[in-house]
Amino acid sequence: MAKILIVDDDQTIGFMLKDILEFGGHEVTVSQQPKKTKENILKNDIELVLLDKLISGVDGTDVCAELRKDEDVQEIPIIMMSALHNVGEVCKSAGATEFIAKPFDMETLLAKTNEILQKHGKTS
């Protein structure tokens, strides 16, 4: 049970993720505006961010790197997602905690989410 923020400009994906994660017992906020990510995190007390890599006009890795630089939010775990299989390394070097290639299995998504939340909960 955690508060999760989804940043993806594709509404269907956003809602699908929301539905799955809510089914998994989490509280989910969906945003299509990557520039308001920090604001959304602080406003909703977010514990985990799911961030798409290719958002119209914005590269998710830039958003991720910015969050990592920002003292207020730099500790928050970020899972980056992309339909491109070979960008995992790029995302991780931008500071992503984990990378998931689309399309993913529901089980994998839930497992990874819980694993990261647990780890994060333990370390912080």
Binding site: D10, T12, I13, I20, L84, F104
Partner: protein, 517 residues
Amino acid sequence: MDKDLRIQKLEKELEESHKKREKLEKQNSSYEKSHAQLKEENYQLKGLIYSSTALITFLKGPEYRVEFANNPIIKAWGKGDDVIGQPLFDVVPEVRDQGIEEYLNQVYYKGEPYHAKTLPVEHDINGEMVKSYFDFSYMPQYNLDGQIVGVGVIAQDVTKQALLNQKIKKSEKEFRGLVDFMPHKISIADADGNTLFYNKSWLDYTGMSMTEFLESHWTEIIHPDHIEKVEKERKHSLKSGKTLDLELKMKDKNGDYKWHLHRSIAMKDDGIITSWVSSSTEIQKLKEEEQRKQDFLKLVSHELKTPVTSIKGYVQLLQTMINGENDKSKQPYLHRIEDQVERLIKLISEILDLSRIEQSELELNIEEFSLNKHVENIIEDISYSHKDVQIELEHLCECDVKADKDRIGQVIINFITNALKYSPDSKNVQVKVFHEEENNVAVSVKDFGIGIEKKDINRIFNRFYRASSMNEKTYSGFGIGLYLSNEIIERHNGKIFVDSEPGAGSEFTFILPLNQN
């Protein structure tokens, strides 16, 4: 005493006369000897002149009468032995106006020898003017008083060499024309790689003159990022004599760098490098196309994956929810949806695999399976989602194959979905599994649709080729299905082909060999 004295005197006279006679006899024999010697020398000289391959004649007097002519020159004139004693210009009147008389006069009247190289002369041989080339020497001939009495002519027929030289010159001119005419950039360098020649295309591209270009260093026009690589490979080629083959960017006259495919090949004589011939072909457009293709494939894959991701997510969510219910009747349907989504995902991945396939990196997972069952299952799946079609399956043989099950399935699906797609009026498709030959197995898919025009038949297995009709948008698809099918079957060492008649339908067949490991 007188008598004795007289006798003595007579004896002395007799003795002297004897001596004189002996002397005379000796003299005579010596004359005879030298005469014979002279005769022999004369004979040898004549023999030498006659047997010489050089053309030799002696022309006497102001009429240039043929005093002597050896066989080669008589042959060159195209005449017989009866020329001896006749004036030259009676024998070969045609040469008079070809400058020969002038040369002879110069020698005869002024005593100046005349030499000529590769002089063309036309002789009338049996009514036909035959052009030959000669190296000539005209020499004045003197009598004992030092007066000029005639002209000696020694000539060598150099027609063969002259014609060969002409041929070489013509060939060189043609090749130079060719090299300058073609859009490729051609250059020639010595064995050490120092360029000696650039063709017109090179000069046009760089905007430099031949001298400017030859004086510039070869690295000047190469993109800074590529110099190191080119230098390394160039050194290796110069050392090993191996063909240089690389892609690099080179600067044009406007300072823009454009992609080129460059090749240099060593010209060898007895295994020793004598020179290097190089060609550079601009492939800028090709490179741009390649990039556009990659970008397009990325975009397609990305755009397709997004909706598929949410379909898959919801299907899995529904499955999890239904698993908790007592009523299990809905489960198989969700399974089918999930299977189809998986297939879709696979197809989308294959779009990205296109480039991999082109580089022969398509991996096959070979397993043994029943081809008949596989075809059956696929038809069942397709019939399930296409309620209005009739797919007939005929097993003419039962056969297990060792192949990549998914890839073969992909080919069968492609054949059947194509058959349905291009049969707007008839939804009848006939599928057959049979032995085309004893050691192979074939699957054919026959439809009664629009068919394929003859001109298109060879192109349908090409990448991105799509059947066109009046309205380009009539048929959906990427145009890679048959291309992929062809590649898949080829990787299985099989064959793929089509029989078709426009308006009557098509029959696609693939054959797999059975005896392969």
